[in-house]
Symmetry: C2
Amino acid sequence: MKLDKKSKILIVGLGLIGGSYAQALTDKGYYVGAVARRRETIEYALEHKLIVSGETEVTRDYVSQFDIIIFALYPKIFIEWIKNYQDYIKDGAILTDVTGVKRSVVYRVQEMLKSGIEFIGAHPMAGKEVYGVENSDKHIFENANYIVTPTDDNTGNAIEMCKALGYELGFKTVTQLTPEKHDEMIGFLSQLTHCIAVSLMDCKESEHLVDYTGDSFRDLTRIAKINDAMWSELFLLNKDELLNQMDLFSEKFTELRNALENEDMEKMREMMRISTERRKFFDKK
Amino acid sequence: MKLDKKSKILIVGLGLIGGSYAQALTDKGYYVGAVARRRETIEYALEHKLIVSGETEVTRDYVSQFDIIIFALYPKIFIEWIKNYQDYIKDGAILTDVTGVKRSVVYRVQEMLKSGIEFIGAHPMAGKEVYGVENSDKHIFENANYIVTPTDDNTGNAIEMCKALGYELGFKTVTQLTPEKHDEMIGFLSQLTHCIAVSLMDCKESEHLVDYTGDSFRDLTRIAKINDAMWSELFLLNKDELLNQMDLFSEKFTELRNALENEDMEKMREMMRISTERRKFFDKK
């Protein structure tokens, strides 16, 4: 199937990301429905015209009308959902998700899926430090990257549909990675940085330091405000890669620490020159 | 002496900070002179009305006319300057500085100073990732904090004068710390964060990751663009405190790493809840 304005799209889970997807797709003219646990969530989304229909119960009648189903759930709940309700999904439907780790989700879901429906993984690299449908904001996608993570089981059609969805949502760039490459990259760029921020913030009771805080400490700890239930689950699901990345960072940090202890000025300056050189690439975009 | 519009102020060293001081004080109506190594620097500062006079040679005639002397030099060059030229300074003058470490500078300068002149340390917590008088910009002080670091050798008058100078420069807050407390605080909030950014940026050839980079990696590495000559000198001059702070961070980071390795979900979530709670204080200002 192709993505066109007649496609009926179901979003399962209306948190910040699910709600923002709903807003973006509704504004583009799609028929968007939703399943959410709480009645208030559905009511809010209907009132604010994020969706045209919504249910708190998962029923065959409701689910079976949709061509595209987007799962915006925590990874484990997502897999449970597939186990319990995939029978309700109509033949030919395409499923995708928003999960921040890929190997542990994509292969498992593809393995358990009944024939006639296809799952293609995707990771919208966007977010905010707030949660819930009330904070839905399609503009968070504007400067962000959407990564499609196909496996050998995926069809070219589904991959194309998923990429088209990324563009319809308003993402600046849409790219493609294997689940393996995705998890390595996200382990380094996102999960490791969150580990650093959390550890730094945990070092001290720092309330009395607020007056002396410049931009650097603020920048490094912004992401220390973190949804502990979600991130600890994501960390565990990417445990091997995240441990690799954490150990790599520790090694470099210890190198710098030992250079300082040994008063090895040349080594310290060399490390700073490398970081200065490399950081320049990130200014250009 | 008190700070008033008749005070003649000499700035020694016209880099980004020296130049921005000159701009702020000239705009407030003070007589501002400068000593800089390069002729082009003085010419630029004169042309752009940052100063009303300037020299590349340090002479008794020139230096002796000033009531307040602000040193905007690297720490070691600053101490050398005092050794070589303090005889030129007139009786009753007050000296201050902009150095980012305090114990190793303040006590040494106060010890070697001839009688009749007084040195009071200060640290303007402001900067940019660019250098040189051409980038002078007094607005960098607007949201920043100015820390005065007196010792038992300082007079109340000099402390008050130095604080008044901070306000005249346009700093949002002016606070006071002992050199010891200053160095501990700066070791944690500023030097440690720079060590983290440099180490993170040094982990990988990351040019190919630019497309996938969200705000978190960008935020954590912004300060990895670093003046290696200046920062390595500052690190060495605060070696004991910085090592303490680096070891504290490593300890916390290893705690989180081991919680992940042991799949200790509760420990990971606990660390995230603490960081989330603590980070809130930094949102308020």
